[in-house]
C-alpha cells in the first residue's frame, strides 16, 4: 500500500501538459513564421483543451492560496500544491517576464483562444516559461517512477 499513485498521477499530468505546450507552441511559431502546419491541427485543438483545463485548476488553487493564511490550499493534491507554490514563488520573485507570471492568470486563457498575432506571440512566451517550471517540477516524479542510474 504505497503512495506511488500520487507520484504516478503527477508524472502523467506533467507529461501531458508538456506535450500540449510543445504541440501548441510549435504550431504557433510555425504559423507566425508563415509555415503551414496542417499536420498538427487536430492535436492543437486537444492541446488547447488540455492547457485550458490545467490553467483552470491552477487559477482555482492560486486563488485559494491568495485568500487563505499560510498559503493553505485545501482539496488540492500535494504534488499539484507544490507546483502552485513554485508558480506563485516565481511570480513573487519576478523570475519570468511573460504575462503568465506578471498578469492575472485568467489572461492566459484569453490568449489561448485569440487569433491576434500579438496575443499568439505573447502565448508563445508564456508557454516557454511554463515549460521550464513544469520540467523542473517533475524531476522528483521522474526519479521515483523511472528510477535513476
Amino acid at each position: 500500500m504505497t503512495a506511488d499513485w500520487l507520484t504516478f498521477q503527477s508524472f502523467q499530468r506533467s507529461q501531458g501538459v508538456l506535450k500540449a505546450i510543445n504541440t501548441l507552441s510549435a504550431h504557433l511559431k510555425l504559423m507566425l513564421n508563415g509555415v503551414a502546419d496542417e499536420e498538427r491541427s487536430q492535436a492543437v485543438d486537444r492541446s488547447a483543451e488540455t492547457l485550458q483545463a490545467f490553467f483552470d485548476e491552477l487559477e482555482a488553487a492560486a486563488r485559494q492560496a491568495d485568500r487563505r493564511e499560510s498559503a493553505l490550499m485545501l482539496g488540492v493534491d500535494p504534488r499539484f500544491r507544490e507546483f502552485v507554490h513554485d508558480y506563485l514563488t516565481a511570480r513573487r520573485h519576478h523570475r519570468f517576464r511573460s504575462r503568465l507570471f506578471t498578469g492575472p492568470i485568467g489572461d492566459i486563457k484569453t490568449l489561448l483562444s485569440s487569433n491576434a498575432r500579438s496575443d499568439q506571440e505573447a502565448l508563445v512566451e508564456c508557454l516557454a516559461e511554463l515549460r521550464i517550471l513544469v520540467e523542473e517540477h517533475m524531476s522528483d516524479d521522474v526519479s521515483q517512477i523511472l528510477g535513476a542510474i
Partner: protein, 381 residues
C-alpha cells in the same frame, strides 16, 4: 544541436521498434490481452511522435522550433522509459498472474467507470498506478500472488482508481473536510507570539496531511464495502505484524505521513464493519490490535492529527465519498455459509477462503490449490 537531436531521435526510434517487436513476439494469457494490445498501440503512437520530430528536422524546422524539439525529445525519452516499465507485466507475464487478473477483471467489470479499462499486474509492495482512462497497473508482492488470502487488498487499491475517476467531486469533499478540521483546530483565543506561530504552522500541517489521509480512509472503506470480512481479515493479517510505527508515531513522524497510523485505520474499519453488520470480525480484529498494542506498550495518541471530535466530519465525508463512487457492496451470499461455485462472485470465494483458513488451517493449502484451479479454469464472462 541538430546532429545531437537527430541521433537521439533515431536512437529512440530503434528502441521503440525493438519494444514493439518484443511485445508482438510474446504470448500472453487471455486476461492480459486488452492490456497487451493497448501497449502495442501506445508504442506505435510513440513511434509516430518520434517520426514527427525527425520530419520537423528534415524540413529544417528546428531553426524555428529548437526548444520544442528538444523538450519533445526529452519527453518522448521519458515516455519510452515508462513504456518499458509498463511492458514488463506482459513481457514477463506468468500463468500464475491469472488469479489476480481474474479478480481485478471482475472488479473492473462491475463498476461502470472501469468496465473495459485494460489492467496488468506487477510485482512490488501493494499499490496502483491509476490514471483513468489509461490502463491500470496493480502491484502485489510475489508470495501474495499465489494465494487467495491477500487478493482482497486489491479492493483498497481499486479505491484509488475510483477516487481518480471522480476526482473533482472527491477533491471538493476533501476540501470541505479539511476546512472543518481547520475550524476544529482553531484555538479559542489567539496570541501573537512565536509559540502561537509555531502552533499555527502545526495546524496547517495537520490540515494538509488530511488530503492523503482522507483518500486512504476512503480506500479502506471501499475495500470493506466490496470485500466484507475477507477485506478486514486480509488488511489486519497483512499489517498487524508491522513495525511499531503502525501503532504509534511521534508528531514529527506524523507530519505529512501518506497513510494514517494503521491502528487508527483499523479502528475506523472495525467501526464501519459493525455498521455493515460484520460484528464478529470487527470485535476479533479490534481485540487483536489492542492486544498487540498492549504488548508493545503503546498508548494511543495521534498528537492532534486525529481527535475524537474529528470523527463525525470524517465519517460524513467518507459516507459522501462512498455515495459518489458507488462501489460494489458485498451481498449476503458473498459472506454466507454456502460453498462457492463458479457462478458466484470472487468476493464469495475470498470470504470462503478466509473462513476455511481460520477454521481448518491444516486443510487450507490443498483447498486453496483446488479452488484457484477451478476459479482460473472456468471461462470468464
Amino acid at each position: 544541436m541538430r546532429t545531437i537531436l537527430r541521433e537521439s531521435n533515431l536512437d529512440l526510434l530503434g528502441e521503440v521498434e525493438r519494444l514493439i517487436t518484443a511485445l508482438k513476439a510474446t504470448p500472453v494469457v487471455p486476461e492480459l490481452a486488452p492490456y497487451h494490445d493497448h501497449m502495442v498501440r501506445a508504442c506505435a503512437d510513440l513511434h509516430e511522435q518520434i517520426c514527427h520530430n525527425l520530419r520537423d528536422m528534415e524540413l529544417g524546422r528546428d531553426d524555428i522550433l529548437p526548444e520544442e524539439i528538444l523538450s519533445e525529445t526529452q519527453r518522448l525519452a521519458r515516455d519510452l522509459r515508462l513504456h518499458n516499465r509498463l511492458a514488463g507485466p506482459t513481457l514477463r507475464g506468468l500463468k500464475s498472474d491469472r488469479l489476480s487478473l481474474r479478480v481485478i477483471g471482475w472488479l473492473h467489470a462491475v463498476h461502470k467507470e472501469t468496465t473495459g479499462v485494460p489492467v496488468a499486474m506487477s510485482t512490488e509492495e501493494f499499490g496502483i498506478w491509476p490514471q483513468p482512462p489509461h490502463p491500470v497497473v496493480y502491484f502485489m508482492p510475489v508470495s501474495a500472488q499465489y494465494s487467495l488470502l491477500y487478493q482482497p487488498l486489491f479492493f483498497h487499491e481499486f479505491g484509488h482508481l475510483l477516487y481518480a475517476s471522480h476526482k473533482p467531486e472527491m477533491d471538493s469533499l476533501v476540501q470541505d473536510l479539511q476546512t472543518q478540521i481547520a475550524e476544529l483546530l482553531e484555538p479559542l483565543a489567539r496570541r501573537n507570539d512565536v509559540h502561537a506561530q509555531a502552533e499555527e504552522r502545526q495546524r496547517t500541517v495537520i490540515v494538509l496531511t488530511w488530503y492523503k489521509w482522507a483518500q486512504e480512509l476512503f480506500c479502506d472503506a471501499v475495500g470493506l464495502m466490496i470485500g466484507g470480512p475477507a477485506f478486514i481479515h486480509a488488511f489486519s493479517h497483512y499489517l498487524r505484524m508491522s513495525p511499531r510505527a503502525e501503532y504509534h508515531c511521534s508528531p514529527d513522524e506524523l507530519r505529512l505521513r501518506p497513510h494514517p497510523v494503521t491502528w487508527l485505520r483499523t479502528r475506523l474499519l472495525t467501526r464501519r464493519a459493525r455498521e455493515l453488520d460484520c460484528m464478529a470480525v470487527a470485535d476479533a480484529v479490534e481485540q487483536q490490535w489492542t492486544t498487540i498494542a498492549a504488548a508493545l506498550g503503546v498508548v494511543e495518541d495521534y498528537y492532534g492529527f486525529y481527535e475524537e471530535e474529528f470523527l463525525p466530519v470524517i465519517w460524513q465525508t467518507l459516507d459522501d465519498m462512498l455515495v459518489e463512487a458507488e462501489p460494489y457492496r458485498f451481498t449476503r451470499q458473498d459472506v454466507g455459509e454456502e460453498e462457492w461455485t463458479v457462478d458466484s462472485t470472487p468476493v464469495h470465494l475470498l470470504n470462503r477462503a478466509w473462513r476455511q483458513f481460520k477454521n481448518h488451517p491444516d486443510e487450507y493449502p490443498s483447498w486453496e490449490h483446488q479452488s484457484i484451479a477451478i476459479f482460473c479454469d472456468h471461462p470468464s464472462e
